[in-house]
Point group: C2
Chain length 345, copies 2
């Protein structure tokens, strides 16, 4: 039986990954460690599986009982306003977090890491293949995220080279969908939450900058297949994302269509905002044959609007998330949570 | 009065820096922390200044008493065979080391870091200005060094941005001279120690790869001027090095001239060995007017051969370094050394 540790498992992508891990029959225990920086207990509040345990702690300082056969390191903010506000904490979560997690990996275990397309910085080639070395300003205002992801990649590939650690590294391009924080700060979620509040949709700069928006279900499917389901023997790095490139202005206009009368306004450009971003998926197609982003961007936006509408309490039929229960003493499954540095019961 | 901490102060460059720091009248205490990974106690064994204290410890775990007005972070191996053998330790020394050192910087203090030209990776432009973002394979066999240096740069410039920390970052190009380890593993020292042992001079690859060799006295002079003497108000990054580019084969042939009959042999290329490396010194000339590499490469090699000859015990007049005294109980100045995690008396 398998013991699994997911750092950042209460986050947007982490919680989707945990749900899929819990479908496995060989799973004995899934321990989530999350410090609630950008993660939300509600993301897994609906999960009643007794194999799930949640430890509220910084991954760098957490105490773990024993070792884990599989470790998934997603403990990092991913949105610029969040990591730019606390850059040292971002570096710590990624780099010191990875160092700490390596210590509790069982011999022969697998260490999976969600790196980022931001390792390519301001790309000089498009689409970006994994072999592209990137153009990151390591002294710039986005460097805490970009460089700490690069540093963890370095750490893991070196751990593989000198220690034989089995690693799997994905570089995720933009992901959107349910469980994005309402205050996440990236384009799709910004526009949707603004539209739902009746506020103007704000674009940083002229909106000509492009992104490749992958819907969460498609991205999580790729992660599941690559990390465990397909038995892939490939360390990566592996680009995962949607290779349909869309400008931020186009996103705003599409979202605007759902909120007639809502204006689009332009603000000053974000510092060092990459002008373009599009994955070369050649490797992904080889490693994960048949996988593709099946949910069209337009459909993904519709689903995300519906989720945000409920999340923001704008529907009569308010969902469970409108009543955050986890961490409160009376919550039905509060037994899962521990706030000490030891593993909770 | 000023309290100064030098991490890696027993190393090649660190020890030269410490000697220059001890010339300052405003210095109250200079604490060196070094774990002797590549540093050597003998490098400062001749220093009798009572303001110098040496703590033998890993910088990441060291306990310090109080805070420091100036911190110099040089705690990292710099030669590929050393960092490639222990890549995780290299990342830890640089990144976790920097994180730990930031914690003990006094309010308003200055944090200086010796980064590296390796942040440029395999440069696609020559010479390399500080604005060049580099071409580093963050999954490659040199990544532990390159990426951890990049990550510390990111940490420091972010600490400056969000916390106002006064930082100074230099990117050092190749440095050579006395106190390079005999087993350092880089070209100049390799060739000299091989020549002195009567062994063939070994070149990795065809030797067409170029480097820019700065003699230690010139480099240390630049560090002294930039870090404290000139009162410079510039965070960097600042390229420091010799912009005279020389091929490794040319170095081998020049050294060969001192050891007639010694052959040059070619070995397999080192993995991802950069093909070229030359600093653009425009910023350095502006920030440090009049500074230049005054010791010609040829003269530097002569001086280094003389030092290596003594170091290897090949002269009658053996120098102090042939009798390592530090760390031995009876050493004249063993009082300086502490091996506990506390600061020694």
């Amino acid at each position: 039986m398998v013991r699994i540790l997911v750092a950042g498992g209460l986050g947007f992508i982490g919680s989707h990954l945990v749900e899929r891990l819990l479908r496995r029959d060989d799973l004995d225990e899934c321990l989530v460690v999350d410090n609630l920086w950008t993660g939300c207990p509600q993301n897994l509040d609906h999960v009643l599986d007794p194999r799930l345990r949640v430890l509220i702690a910084d991954v760098e300082q957490a105490s773990f009982d024993g070792r884990f056969d599989e470790i998934y390191h997603l403990a990092s903010p991913a949105s610029p306003p969040w990591y730019m506000a606390e850059p040292l904490r971002t570096i710590s979560a990624n780099v010191i977090g990875a160092m700490r997690l390596l210590e509790v990996l069982a011999p022969g275990g697998q260490f999976a890491f969600t790196s980022t397309s931001e390792v390519y910085g301001e790309p000089q080639v498009s689409p970006q293949p994994e072999s592209y070395r990137g153009s990151v300003d390591c002294t710039g205002p986005r460097a805490s995220y970009d460089e700490s992801k690069r540093c963890v990649e370095a750490m893991l590939f070196e751990a593989r080279r000198v220690l034989g650690v089995r690693v799997k590294v994905v570089r995720l391009f933009n992901v959107f969908g349910p469980r994005t924080r309402v205050d996440d700060g990236r384009a799709v979620s910004n526009f949707i939450s603004q539209g739902l509040r009746g506020a103007p949709l704000t674009i940083f700069g002229d909106g000509a900058q492009t992104r490749s928006w992958g819907y969460i279900d498609d991205i999580a499917e790729a992660l599941e297949r690559y990390f465990w389901r397909d038995g892939v023997d490939f360390a990566g790095p592996l680009n995962i994302g949607n290779d349909r490139e869309i400008s931020v202005l186009e996103v705003a206009r599409y979202v605007q269509g759902f909120f007639p009368g809502t204006p689009i306004v332009h603000l000053a450009p974000a510092p060092q905002d990459p002008s373009n971003r599009r994955p070369d998926l050649t490797t992904a197609r080889r490693v994960l044959p048949g996988w593709r982003c099946a949910v069209p961007y337009e459909e993904g936006v519709v689903r995300t609007i519906a989720w945000f509408r409920a999340e923001m309490g704008l529907e009569d039929a308010a969902p469970a998330r409108a009543m955050p229960a986890a961490l409160s003493a009376g919550a039905a499954n509060a037994h899962r949570f521990a706030t000490s540095r030891g593993v909770g019961i």
